[in-house]
Homo-oligomer: 413 residues x 2
């Protein structure tokens, strides 16, 4: 599919994130209250205002979250996408009428795009699981025996999901070095990122749903950084999994790129090393070809890319994760967020966490501007970005960024 | 403290659950819509109607959940409790006026008492952790090294929390017996209960809170049964903890017994085997003396108690769990539910799960009416009950019951 040209000229830039082919949904505030919008070039189209003017269907755009719109269902999602595609296309008669509801992105502050009902984080990248498993259990036992049979996941903490741009405070927690008899309570020394994509559940379910059906429940995707305190995690995670190590913050990008916009970029999952059980089998190309990158910006203001990878490196798709999530009868709700798991590729420069990049802190990452990193230092800004490359255009996610602040001096003050 | 006598005669029964000393909050429906109420003897006092009549402060009682009332804060909780204590006391002039807002409990259906924001389940009972650890890792390694230093917990699934009385469908899941090469997808064969108390968070927080402060954030407690598929859990739980094994359902009692009502029953936690870190230290008697029991009612209608234990068997209190929960900066919200962890006592008859009662299925539990159980069978009804014994009265929780239905024939149909 080629670029769909828009009368919004900045949307036709082949290097831009938000052409007419994309139309991601988000929630913005320009000082007049939070409402839904769509990104187009360097602008935000004010869906709240358009709903008030009956230029789009009444679908909850004047609320400060996309949940009501998602609740309207896939038919409405498609109808609104088609309406906007027509209104914004080159030659559309609506151009003059829309001038008042097109706001330069520099004039708005992006908000949380939806109320997160619950947040589940998976561990479904083969390279990440192998890397972490090798570090902790040796190369021969890198993958747990269940890993090739199901997308392993755990329940994360929805209350700690924040929108890109929110500062993240280095957490305190129980740490226990191998040489110490007892744990201490101190700021995390191994604070880390996890480069992930988050799938946004847009339709509810009350019982098991198949992989094919599950895909239709997914409204779209966001960039997701699951901030992780590796030293807290190492001490707490046996036997019930990560808890406080992953509860400080999870950042997501403000724009939800719809499943419809990603459809041209579908690609097959890796070859299955073990045959999947029937209810988890691929029903077509399950993944998307989405280039992803992480940049580090220390306090000195320099910036460099420290990792490049691609979403097609995943072993399990979001649809397979969602189907697995419902096998027990677990009810799913609109606004559930499913983290893909860390997306690492085969080489060192493709690793999606400092834990992997510095191999557990043993091989510091040398920075081009000088200095090095094993884990995040206070003042560092970490930024995820991602886009799918089309024919003369890109479907971009924008960025998901967060700066790490020094730990509190006394957390109980 | 002795029995506070009420003009509601059934509230003065020394064996009853709901004397004037108790006044637990819940949400009921008598066909006229869900609203808040308080249990008194065999009746429900209609707080929604009383709010409409300005007999109690306007505190969200006409909504179908206690969240708005909890949001009003501890000052309001106390004010309403004091008002109701006066109105319902023997000799109160309000007796005739209240006749219209006192509804026999047989006329109402109890609803979910509050909207569960997030659900966290702990593993903070010493006997349970030792029993399970001994079964899985041997007696010498029963307790994980972190267990005596922090209340180990994991995030559960809020969407699967249901009110007492809701039937529970036996789940399907991935099962892998030790003799099999690959897992199968089948109904759970080791479906189980977990006898717990749930603490209801009634005030929000955005950073670490101390044990003393944390206690003031707890509105009250419910009985909680964390239904668990042990065979699904055994295969899935490494390395990230329980997921689908615990996502079918968690049942809670409809009445939230307030912290104020439990105050006379405070008792000390067990002696600390390792000194707790300063931020987790006891700040007084941290637990409550609450007798708990589990009864089994098979399809033949017979019923017998299969376990008796007490909440004072816990190692960590809810306040310590909540303080630990916030150490990372994890935001807590009104309606967060914290499961205590399974409450087992020292003897076999004190064990709070079939896993422990039948020692992993190896020592079937013989039933008085004939037959035996290793785990739950289809049609079995399991009922938790609990009460604190005062001087001539009891502060009861009522019951938390659920019947297990046969698994679906085809979960994806």
């Amino acid at each position: 599919m080629p670029l769909r040209r828009s009368w919004v000229q900045s949307a036709n830039d082949p290097g831009g994130a938000f052409p007419l082919n994309n139309l991601p949904f988000g929630v913005f505030d320009d000082g007049m209250g939070a409402r839904a919008g769509v990104a187009i070039g360097d602008n935000v189209l004010d869906l709240g205002a358009m709903e008030g003017l009956s230029m789009v269907p009444g679908a909850g755009f004047r609320t400060g979250a996309l949940n009501d719109f998602m609740a309207e269902g896939p038919g409405m999602w498609e109808r609104v996408r088609n309406t906007l595609t027509g209104l914004l296309a080159e030659g559309s008669a609506a151009e003059s009428q829309l001038a008042d509801v097109l706001i330069p992105d520099a004039m708005v502050t992006m908000q949380m795009p939806f109320a997160v009902s619950e947040y589940t984080d998976f561990y479904a990248g083969r390279h990440h699981a192998s890397n972490v498993g090798t570090m902790f259990r040796g190369a021969d036992n890198a993958l747990p025996p269940n890993w090739l049979h199901m997308p392993i996941g755990y329940n994360g903490r929805a209350s700690s999901v924040v929108v890109s741009g929110t500062d993240v405070r280095r957490p305190w927690g129980q740490l226990k070095g191998p040489k110490f008899e007892a744990p201490i309570f101190a700021p995390s020394r191994r604070f880390d990122i996890e480069l992930e994509l988050g799938a946004v559940v847009g339709q509810p379910s009350t019982g098991p749903i198949s992989v094919a059906t599950a895909d239709e429940h997914i409204f779209g995707y966001v960039l997701l950084n699951d901030w992780s305190a590796r030293d807290i995690q190492a001490w707490e995670y046996q036997p019930l999994g990560p808890f406080q190590a992953k509860a400080t913050a999870t950042s997501i990008s403000p724009w939800v790129v719809t499943r419809a916009a990603l459809e041209p970029f579908r690609c097959a999952a890796p070859e299955r090393e073990k045959e999947l059980l029937p209810h988890l089998k691929d029903v077509g190309p399950m993944l998307y070809d989405i280039d992803l990158a992480v940049s580090l910006q220390p306090e000195d203001g320099s910036e460099e890319i420290i990792s490049r990878t691609n979403y097609r490196e995943m072993y399990y798709s979001a649809a397979q994760q969602l189907a697995h999530h419902t096998t027990s009868g677990c009810p799913m709700r609109i606004g559930d967020l499913l983290g893909s798991g860390t997306i690492s590729g085969p080489e060192r420069e493709n690793r999606g966490s400092f834990l992997e990049l510095s191999w557990g802190g043993k091989e510091p990452l040398e920075l081009a501007q000088g200095g090095s990193r094993t884990f995040i230092e206070d003042g560092d800004r970490l930024t995820l970005s991602g886009s799918a490359q089309g024919d003369g255009y890109r479907v971009g996610f924008g960025t998901c960024t967060g700066r790490v602040l020094a730990a509190l001096e006394d957390p109980f003050a």
